[in-house]
């Protein structure tokens, strides 16, 4: 069997006495859609931060595409094909949706020490950006400043920006956060179209979405992965049920 695209081993991070991440083992295979679920306070945010390169783990290794990226900062990870979207929408509010995505394209188009040509007239950036916007369904809103987009559209923009970098792995941090029922379904439908051709690591609370999209699910409780398996296996797992007792589904 081929080496997993992402392999996390023994990842640990403590804040004082609090073990936010406790010997986490995680694998994401190429082409897989892998979800991470867990009750509130399980340490998902800390784990994401370490995967994305915003936080240094105390121990453990992260291997991506056969390379040890544990010490790499976030921009370097992105350049290696690791893209992420943010749980709390983090786009360029003063720039249009197209500008936003074009910047993501630009980040992966070599160095940016180009001082003369106006970036907004650069078709090498604008055309691919437009294509990605169309793909996620924001094509008509390309020229709207990001701050003026509806919340659901901003979440779409988050995904678009991540996709525009042509990632090998797409890390989606609660893509459905704050979305209403209709918007959520729309996003899930879209993500389903990515299944198979885009490796995804999905962190989500919304169980319907998780069970629709995920090939495999890992459950994070108190910083530890307590179970990994197909959605059906996880559903039936007594430990998982116990952890979620009292939690809404």
């Amino acid at each position: 069997m081929a080496e997993p695209l992402l392999r996390v081993g023994g990842l640990s991070k403590s804040f004082g006495a609090l073990r936010a991440t406790d010997q986490v083992e995680l694998e994401v295979l190429e082409g897989e859609t892998h979800a991470i679920i867990g009750p509130n306070g399980a340490g998902k945010t800390t784990l994401i931060a370490q995967l994305a390169g915003d936080l240094r783990p105390d121990a453990g290794r992260i291997r991506f595409a056969g390379e040890d990226i544990t010490a790499l900062p976030a921009p370097a990870r992105s350049r290696k094909g690791f893209a992420r979207s943010f749980q709390i929408t983090s786009v360029y509010r003063d720039f249009t949706a197209l500008d936003n995505v074009a910047l993501a394209v630009q980040a992966h188009a070599g160095h940016s020490f180009r001082f003369w040509r106006p970036a907004r007239a650069d078709q090498a950036l604008r055309a691919p950006a437009r294509a990605v916007l169309d793909e996620v369904g924001l094509g008509a809103r390309a020229d709207v400043p990001a701050a003026n987009l509806a919340h659901g559209e901003q979440r779409q923009l988050e995904v678009a920006m991540a996709l525009a970098t042509r990632p090998r792995l797409l890390l989606l941090d609660e893509p459905l956060a704050g979305m209403g029922a209709e918007e959520s379904q729309s996003m899930v439908r879209y993500l389903a179209t990515l299944k198979g051709r885009q490796t995804m690591l999905l962190v989500e609370h919304d169980m319907d979405a998780v069970f629709t999209l995920a090939d495999r699910v890992s459950v994070l409780v108190y910083g530890r992965i307590v179970a990994t398996g197909t959605p059906a296996e996880i559903r039936a797992n007594p430990e998982v049920r116990a952890a979620y007792l009292g939690e809404q589904e």
Binding site: A52, D54, P73, A74, P75, A76, S78, R79, A83, R84, F86, S90, V91, Y92, R93, D94, F95, T96, D99, L103, A104, Q106, A107, H108, S112, F113, R114, F115, W116, R117, P118, A119, R120, D122, L125, P145, M161, A162, A164, T165
Partner: protein, 314 residues
């Protein structure tokens, strides 16, 4: 050529400035040529500062240092008999860029408060250095031996010729910064200012770009320094005093941060105001101080924001 609103205003400003020497001659008031020339020189410095401040979000309290380096470079070369502007001015720019590189390398990695403090401290360091350079006037300063020479093409002793040279350089500076800001390079700087986490997440490492912007900004300000010393013809370390940096920052804010012409307007208003106030009372700073505070508190978007609600570089 599509004439956007911005271009119209720039054109109008250029025409206005261009009309000053003949108007002053007509009115028999050569003083205005002097004043507006000084405004334009400071405007170049303010434009350079706006590049990193308005677009890059880097609050440099140390830009006076580059004015000083530019001025000292020209003077020191002049003392050693090198008077050609074609040597002096590139040296002034180059020296400023080197200094900006050195200071930037140490400061830019630092977070907001630190960056301000550090740039302030380095400027003061250069001030003290200037004060201790007895060979070049020390505390009291010294006269510039001879103005920069253009080999007969332009005579800087001719107030009007010098004036138009400065005007041309100001226009170039504004156009240059405009280009930079709209280029791929400029977009990275602006993105990093707008949302640093996002910028890193998509794959940019802001540091080298910020450093480059800092260096370019320093170089342009060094040019302003070379112009300034030719204007005042008297070198003094006061050029590098940190309060000068504060004035430059104010010009940018007053005019409208992150707007093309804001710094120019800011320089105009601040210098004219200082001029008017200081001729009225010796204690003009007690009026200027609170005025500045009020501008910060209530007119944060500056003149550009008040006058025509320019959408912030959409």
């Amino acid at each position: 050529m599509r004439l956007g609103r911005r271009r119209i205003v720039l054109l109008a400003l250029v025409l206005l400035f261009a009309a000053v020497p003949p108007a002053a001659a007509l009115l028999g008031q050569p003083f205005y040529v002097d004043l507006v020339r000084r405004v334009m020189i400071y405007a170049i410095a303010a434009v350079s500062l706006d590049l990193i401040l308005g677009y890059g979000g880097m609050v440099s309290f140390g830009h006076a240092a580059y004015l000083g380096v530019g001025a000292y470079a020209v003077t020191i070369l002049a003392v050693y008999g090198v008077h050609s502007a074609l040597v002096q001015w590139p040296v002034a720019i180059g020296a400023s860029m080197l200094l900006a590189l050195a200071i930037g390398a140490v400061s830019i990695r630092a977070s907001g408060i630190y960056f301000i403090m550090i740039t302030l401290a380095f400027t003061q360091m250069l001030y003290y250095l200037g004060v201790s350079l007895d060979a070049f006037g020390g505390d009291n300063g010294m006269r510039l031996p001879m103005r920069s020479q253009f080999g007969g093409l332009i005579d800087l002793r001719n107030g009007t010729q010098f004036y138009y040279l400065v005007l041309a350089l100001l226009v170039l500076a504004v156009l240059l910064v405009r280009r930079l800001v709209d280029s791929r390079f400029g977009m990275v700087i602006r993105a990093a200012k707008s949302n640093e986490a996002r910028t890193r997440a998509i794959g940019f490492t802001p540091y080298p770009y910020r450093l480059a912007a800092f260096v370019i900004s320093g170089g342009l300000c060094g040019l302003a320094g070379a112009l300034l010393i030719n204007h005042t013809a008297y070198l003094t370390p006061d050029l590098m005093h940190w309060t000068r940096s504060g004035e430059l920052l104010f010009m940018v804010i007053l005019g409208g941060i992150g707007s093309t012409l804001g710094p120019v307007l800011g320089a105009l208003v601040l210098l004219v105001l200082e001029n008017a106030l200081s001729s009225w009372t010796e204690h003009w700073q007690i009026i200027l101080g609170p005025f500045l505070v009020l501008v910060v508190l209530f007119a944060r978007r500056g003149l550009a924001g008040l006058l025509w609600r320019e959408e912030r570089d959409g």
